[in-house]
């Protein structure tokens, strides 16, 4: 299997649980997962099933109880906290459901934020950020503050920020969860085109079957493990 070697995300026998009052609550149990380069995966599952936990593990924001997480060839368990920070800034893009942007920064400055961690000069950073804003179609909003943007526009700025450092992997946790149908459509199209044009691997958690349809593949998370699911079947079952 060629995509085995070219997997961007590999979970190897990962178990993750949370301790609450001495009781271990299992979230993921002995999970193995490969997400090949260039994939666009939608992750669905009931609330509390561990979708966000999966993203946190992929981002190195949390560590598995047992097992290994390897992203873009890097075993995350081998990195220190500072090493993980640096690694994230070079490899990952993040989009969350809401409250994504720094309210004190303009759209352009928000997009520039991850670039502060690179050795780029100020003008190069500005250029990169402007280019990213152009990709999401918001170059005319560069000087607007988040409060002056609609929810959909905010989310597109978040995507621009996520792609500013040219990430290998884009992690999105319910990126359309707070948007109206039209804005959600725009955001999804954007992620699709990023995936197609730049080959960015995307893992998107969603509750919305319609959103899941823009992905290439659907994973269903239930009772601690993944089930490969069929998008069409999902549609039909509704």
């Amino acid at each position: 299997m060629s995509d085995y070697h070219d997997a961007v995300v590999q979970l190897l026998d990962v178990t993750k649980g949370f301790r609450r009052d001495k009781i271990e609550i299992p979230v993921l149990t002995n999970t193995t997962l490969h997400i090949p380069r260039g994939d666009f995966v939608a992750v669905m599952g009931p609330s509390g099933s561990g979708k966000s936990t999966l993203l946190n593990l992929c981002a190195g924001l949390d560590r598995p109880t047992t097992g290994q997480v390897i992203v873009n060839g890097q075993n995350l368990g081998q990195l220190s906290e500072a090493g993980l920070s640096k690694w994230r800034s070079q490899n990952l893009g993040f989009v969350f459901q809401m409250y994504n942007l720094m309210p004190v920064l303009t759209a352009l400055e928000n997009v520039e934020l991850p670039l502060l961690l690179t050795p780029l000069s100020r003008s190069e950073r500005r250029k990169h950020a402007a280019a990213a804003l152009r990709i999401v179609g918001l170059e005319d909003r560069a000087d607007h503050y988040p409060r002056q943007l609609s929810g959909g526009q905010e989310q597109r700025v978040s995507i621009a920020r996520a792609l500013a450092n040219d990430p290998v992997l884009l992690l999105a946790d319910e990126p359309t969860g707070n948007l109206d149908a039209h804005s959600a459509e725009e955001v999804l199209e954007l992620m699709q085109s990023l995936n197609e044009q730049f080959g960015t691997t995307v893992v998107m958690v969603t509750h919305d079957p319609k959103a899941a349809r823009s992905a290439k593949r659907l994973l269903h998370l239930e009772k601690g493990t993944f089930v490969q699911a069929d998008i069409e079947a999902l549609e039909a079952s509704r």
Partner: protein, 386 residues
Amino acid sequence: MKYLPLILRNVFRNKVRSIFTGISIAISLFPLMLLYAFLDLQDDMASSTAQYNRVAVLHEGGLAGQLPIAYVDRVRRQPGVKDAIPLSWFGGNYREEKTQFAQFATDPKVFFEIYPEYACPPDQIAAWQSDKTGCLVGSVIAENKGWKIGDKIPLQGNIYPVDLELTVRGIYDGPDTADRSWLVFHFDYFDESLKEARTPNSGNAGIIMLRTESASKMSPVMQSIESAFASSDAPVKPMTEKEFGASFLEMMGNVRGFIRMTATAIVIALICVAANTMAMAVRERTREIALFKAIGFNRNTILGMFLAESIAIGLLGGLIGGIGTKFLFSLIDLSSVDPGLGMFYVPWRTALWGVALAAAIGLFSGLIPAWRAANVSVIEGLRKVV
């Protein structure tokens, strides 16, 4: 440096809170600056007078004791002494005024030998020297009282049962550190008035101020003067002008220690106020901090950003309080409160020290909140609010 815009934006995002914190620092800095300016000025005066090699000779019993006027000539003849003058405190009341200013009976012929840094036009000096009831006044006191050459100045005696009627013959000026609030007049006029009134106190030189030929002569001169008068009716205590100045401060108790204690209390209170502001900021921004970390900012960067924010708030207060106090005092005329304060100003050194102190307050108040920010858990932070 590239984080500076972000930090400044955060300082001003909650304008009311930052400004109130800044202002509370500024306001508390104000009295501190005054106290320290006062001490700094004392030091400045003391150290700037050192170059003139002046020695004050007092009665062994202190300022209240009397030195016979004949001592002036005897001091003058000591080897290593350039010249000497009496400075006899008159302590009279001017018109109905309750506050007093420095009035000394002295030797007009020698006065400028002892105080070479005092500047006065030669014709005024000559006019003062040749008029027995003439007096010389400092530029600060002259401006404060509105005196001009030729004005009559009646002084009612308090210590002595005589009234003097003086005429302004000259106005002297000098460097910032020179005392320009004195009124000096002829010792002869003073002493003759006392003799006419038949008081037993005539012939009192007060203290004797002398200048030595060089700095290295100061301590031998002080020693020889002390031993020369040791067995006389009025033994003396010579001290450098600097020590003499310091002895006035000592009379007010341990002023410096007291000022330092007050300063420490104020600074600790300010750190608590500013720390509270920063703690609130961190709490409000937990989610943002989590986002920063998710993007790849590490804990040191976050620690640095919050410390910088806190220092910036301190600096804001420092600039208003420190530089503001300086300019405020160059605008208001304190001599209307007390002529002795006419020369008061806030030196740059003190103002900048205030700014630095405020920055340090910012730094210390930010330590705990910034440390908390640096340790925000990304996962917890991101779960919040959503």
